[in-house]
Structures are given as structure tokens and as C-alpha cells.
């Protein structure tokens, strides 16, 4: 009986077993091996040892794209988390029209990245953009959102805020699971709204926060489409040139597949490291309900 169960179980899982082997395990190992070679797809790879990694660590563009990406992660992850949690908390006060607000905040996440990039290209346009005009109206001269190297990343970080709808919905679900009895107990102790938020709500949804933040780190590290559309070539002065942009260019513009694979593995290790750091830092602050 158990033997037959096992056979059926593996049979049912077969699509994923193949998918896992062909589209995850194989490429992951192959890219590690490729990273030790010089490979242009047209010619077979030749083994060059650690040369790609050696070159990578002396490559100014690599460092620039990495710094840009880490700065973007550092800005976008907290911003989207704070906005998403804030919105969810506001919606959770059981205001009238909750589902309408929820829809409005969610709507931008449905817009394809390319359309979003195209749209924001004109929202931030230096001559006629909506933002420019709004700033001028209140008497502030806005920075060159798209043309100033110190501002281009901030523009993208700001844009990331429009994509926080999905996280907001997840937070909202988490908030609705917080038992009412905890709030009642806090009220008996004389806790005001702020104290309740800090000492009841946030600890109770901390596992959801951790999940969202980790997913957001992994996603932000791979930012590609919006800067590809808004800042061709990472202009101005490569200030909007990101890790995946450089990896893509190495693989498909310069035909340096080995070098791109080395970059891929470095990105993988960075992702792992940042995820582990997030898990470690959160250990003391994340509260899991014991079952």
C-alpha cells in the first residue's frame, strides 16, 4: 500500500521534479561552471579558472552597478514596507469605503513595468512633467529627476512606492487575524492607539513583515524593467545602471556569457547573505504564536 502510494506520489510530482532539475538545478550548476569559462554561445566555452571573478573585482562598472543596486534596495525596501504597513493600518481602522481605497492602492501594481516606466518618464519630465509643475506651484524648484545623477535613483525609489499594493493586501490580511481580545486587554491597561499599534499590532504581524521584507529585498535586487525603459544605458552618468542591467548587457550585448554567469553567482550569494542578515536581525523582534 505504502509502496504504491509512493509510486503515485512521485508520478504526480513528476512535472515539478523535471522542472526543478531542468529549470533550476541544472542552470544553477551550469552557471557556476560557466563562470569559470570564457563563453560566447557561438563558440564552445574554454576554461579560464577564476579569471572572470578576478576581473569582476577590478571592474569599476561592476562596483558602480552593485552600489546603485544596494542603494536602491536600501531606499526602496523600507519605503515600500512603511507605506504598505501604514496604508494597511489606516484601512484596518474599519473606515467607510475600505474596499474602494484598497482597489485604488492596488491598481498601480497591475500596470506592466514598461507602461509604468513610460508613464513616469512623463510624470517626471523636466520641462512639462506633472511633478515639476506641482513643485513650482508651491514655490520649490524641483531637481532634475531624470537628468541629475544624484536624483535618478531617488526617482526610481519613489516610483517603487506605487508597487506596494500587493504587500499592503498581505499586511491587511495579517492585521485582520490579530485577536480582538489582545486590544481589549491593552485598552484595560489604558493603552492609547499609538501604544496599541506599537505593542500589540506590530509584534503580532511581525512574521508577515519579515516575509514581505525578505521578498522585497530579493525582488529589488533584481530591478531591471523600469530603469531599462526610463534610463537607457543607465544614463545620466550610469547613475541608474543596475546589477541586472549590467549582467544582461554582458550576456546579450557583449556576448560575455562566462562573465555574466560569474555576476549571476555573486548576485545569488549577495541575495543569500542579505536574506540571512534579515532573518538574523529579526530573530529578537519577530514574534511567532506558539501552537
Amino acid at each position: 500500500m505504502i509502496r504504491r502510494d509512493a509510486r503515485v506520489g512521485v508520478l504526480f510530482a513528476l512535472p515539478w521534479i523535471f522542472g526543478f532539475l531542468i529549470f533550476l538545478a541544472y542552470p544553477l550548476i551550469a552557471s557556476l561552471l560557466t563562470s569559470f569559462t570564457s563563453f560566447s554561445v557561438l563558440r564552445p566555452p574554454t576554461f579560464i579558472g577564476l579569471q572572470n571573478y578576478n576581473e569582476l573585482f577590478h571592474d569599476q562598472v561592476f562596483y558602480q552597478s552593485l552600489t546603485n543596486t544596494l542603494l536602491y534596495v536600501l531606499g526602496a525596501v523600507p519605503l515600500t514596507a512603511i507605506v504598505a504597513i501604514g496604508l494597511a493600518l489606516l484601512l484596518n481602522t474599519k473606515v467607510k469605503g475600505m474596499s474602494i481605497y484598497r482597489t485604488l492602492f492596488f491598481l498601480p501594481t497591475l500596470v506592466p513595468m514598461v507602461a509604468l516606466g513610460t508613464l513616469f518618464l512623463w510624470v517626471f519630465n523636466g520641462d512639462y512633467g506633472l511633478f515639476k509643475q506641482a513643485f513650482l506651484k508651491v514655490g520649490v524648484t524641483p531637481p532634475g529627476w531624470l537628468t541629475d545623477p544624484t536624483w535618478s535613483k531617488w526617482t526610481l525609489i519613489l516610483i517603487s512606492m506605487w508597487g506596494c499594493g500587493q504587500a499592503m493586501v498581505i499586511y491587511l490580511a495579517g492585521l485582520q487575524d490579530v485577536p480582538v481580545s489582545l486590544y481589549e486587554a491593552a485598552e484595560l491597561d489604558g493603552a492609547k492607539s499609538w501604544a496599541k499599534t506599537m505593542h500589540v499590532t506590530l509584534p503580532m504581524i511581525s512574521p508577515v513583515i519579515l516575509f514581505n521584507v525578505v521578498m522585497s529585498i530579493i525582488g529589488s535586487l533584481q530591478i531591471f524593467a523600469v530603469p531599462y525603459v526610463m534610463f537607457p544605458g543607465g544614463a545620466p552618468a550610469r547613475s541608474a545602471y543596475f546589477y541586472t542591467s549590467y549582467l544582461y548587457d554582458n550576456a546579450f550585448q557583449y556576448q560575455r556569457m562566462g562573465y555574466a554567469s560569474a555576476m549571476g553567482w555573486v548576485l545569488f550569494l549577495i541575495t543569500l547573505a542579505l536574506t540571512l542578515i534579515a532573518l538574523k536581525l529579526s530573530e529578537k523582534h519577530v514574534h511567532y504564536e506558539s501552537n
Binding site: 515539478w16 560557466t34 473606515v95 498601480p108 497591475l110 510624470v123 546589477y243
Partner: protein, 293 residues
């Protein structure tokens, strides 16, 4: 009862104040979130002379519905075909195949993880979850080389065939749902002589329609909006998807007229928005459950 303070009264005032504050904050934030989209719609209906004005013009002097047919046929003379319609057809083909493949494969794989015992299952499930941390760029080169070797570069196959091999995220989502269905149902059916496959197709799958809808919706959105995949694998302009085509419009020699570009953007977004409104409840619940419980 002590008469020092009136906790109930102050509490009620507190609540009221809180609601007023919440409404003000929500209204101003939703304006911020929706303004770019409203501007897109408004611009898509403007004559070209009114797209770049100072101050911006919100209501066009006359509404040009003609921008939409113009956007669709833009560039058709040089190309000899109507690009936006060709892009739409390509996107629809890829999306339908991807959604079908994802629903088929994930539903059966998740069934195995949730309702059949086999050695190594839980370990493999843990590994499956961990793969969600692997960034796509690290897989990009070997995957491209593989499809190149198969002769699939320039075709739609790299964009939909992988969907037939399930994905970690959808497996996870469906497994969570399947586990909420009582095991007694399966056991009773087994006693009646049902095979595992019959239990899956006749009992579990029909009960799981909402969860399967969620997987379909996520795959639909991912496929419809995908940019990097088509950018890597599609070569000829007449095989482009809407996302890729929109980018081509945008970057073409001196750029497409802005009002037409916005009309095209509206058309690309429209199907996703319609699907969202039709399936809003399923959508929101699905995302909510993906937040891990």
C-alpha cells in the same frame, strides 16, 4: 463607580478623531496613487498640441477617441502589418498557454505534496520553498543556452513551456489550500475504489476552484506583464509581445507621439484591469494567503 474621568466618552471621541484623520490621510494618499493613471487616460484622449503644456491640461479641449485607432495602426504602413494587434495576438497566445500549463502542472504537483505520502516528500518541499530565493539572473545564461541549443530562441516556446513544469510559488499556494480539505473525503473515496487520479479530478480539483483561480490569475499577470523574458527570447518585431512592443514604440526614432503612446499603454493595461475587477475577491484573498500563515 468612580466619577473621576469618563473613559467611555473620551474613548468614543478618540475613535471619531481617528476616523477623520484616517480618511484625510487615505484620500490624499489615494490621490497620489491614482493621479499618474488618470493623467495617462486624460493624455490618451488629447490632441498632440495639448500633451505638453504649462500648466498641464487635465481636460482636453476636445476629446479625441480617434487616438485609439491611431495608436493601434501606428507604424503599420512601414511594417506592412498592424503592430499592436500582432503584439496583442502574440501576448494572448503565450498567456493562454502559460496559464493552462501552470494550472495543470501545479494542481497535480501540489496534490502530491499535500495529500500523498512518499519518502523524501517534506525534504523536497523544503528545498522547493528555498528555491524561491534564487534570483532569475543567475539562471539566465544557462537557460538561454539551453533554449538556443533546442532551437527555440525566436519562438514563443521559452515563454510558455516552463509553465508546464510547475513553479515553487504556485505549488506552495495550492498545497496550503489542499491541506484544508479533510483527508476523510479521500479515504472514503478510496474505500469506494477510486484511484488517486480520480480523487484528484473528481473531488479535490472541483473543491479547489478558488485556489486554482488564484494560480491562473498570478500566471496571467506574470505572463502578460513579463518584459525580461520576451526581451531575451524574441528577435523579430512581428513576434513581440505587448510589453516589448510598447518599449519599442517608446524608444523608436524620436519617439511615438505621446498621446498615442498613452493610448497604447491604456490598451495594454485594460485587460489586466478588467480581469482584476471581475475576480477582485479571489485576487485579494489569494495574495493574502500568499503571506504565509
Amino acid at each position: 463607580m468612580k466619577a473621576t474621568t469618563n473613559p467611555a466618552g473620551s474613548h468614543r471621541r478618540d475613535k471619531k478623531l481617528q476616523h477623520v484623520f484616517a480618511h484625510i490621510a487615505l484620500v490624499s494618499l489615494s490621490v497620489l496613487f491614482v493621479i499618474p493613471l488618470l493623467w495617462m487616460v486624460s493624455t490618451s484622449l488629447k490632441p498632440i498640441g495639448e500633451t505638453l503644456t504649462n500648466p498641464p491640461r487635465w481636460i482636453p479641449s476636445h476629446i479625441l477617441f480617434n487616438n485609439y485607432p491611431d495608436a493601434i495602426s501606428y507604424g503599420s504602413k512601414e511594417l506592412g502589418y498592424i503592430p499592436l494587434l500582432v503584439y496583442a495576438r502574440n501576448t494572448i497566445i503565450i498567456t493562454i498557454l502559460a496559464v493552462g500549463g501552470a494550472v495543470l502542472s501545479n494542481s497535480i504537483v501540489a496534490y502530491s505534496f499535500a495529500r500523498i505520502k512518499w519518502p523524501g516528500r517534506d525534504l523536497f518541499f523544503g528545498v522547493t520553498l528555498a528555491t524561491m530565493m534564487i534570483p532569475f539572473p543567475v539562471l539566465m545564461v544557462p537557460t538561454f543556452a539551453l533554449f538556443k541549443w533546442l532551437g527555440w530562441v525566436g519562438t514563443f516556446k521559452p515563454l510558455w513551456v516552463p509553465a508546464f513544469f510547475a513553479s515553487a510559488f504556485s505549488i506552495f499556494l495550492l498545497r496550503q489550500f489542499y491541506r484544508t480539505i479533510p483527508m476523510e473525503l479521500s479515504e472514503a473515496a478510496k474505500i469506494d475504489g477510486c484511484s488517486e487520479f480520480r480523487i484528484f479530478t473528481d473531488i479535490i480539483a472541483p473543491l479547489s476552484r478558488p485556489a486554482l483561480m488564484v494560480v491562473a490569475l498570478f500566471t496571467f499577470m506574470g505572463s502578460w506583464n513579463d518584459f525580461l523574458g520576451p526581451l531575451i527570447y524574441l528577435v523579430d518585431q512581428n513576434t513581440f509581445t505587448l510589453s516589448l512592443g510598447l518599449q519599442a514604440y517608446q524608444s523608436q526614432h524620436g519617439g511615438t507621439p505621446f498621446n498615442l503612446l498613452m493610448a497604447a499603454s491604456c490598451l495594454v493595461i485594460l485587460p489586466v484591469v478588467i480581469v482584476f475587477f471581475l475576480a477582485q475577491k479571489v485576487f485579494i484573498q489569494g495574495i493574502a494567503t500568499s503571506g504565509l500563515k
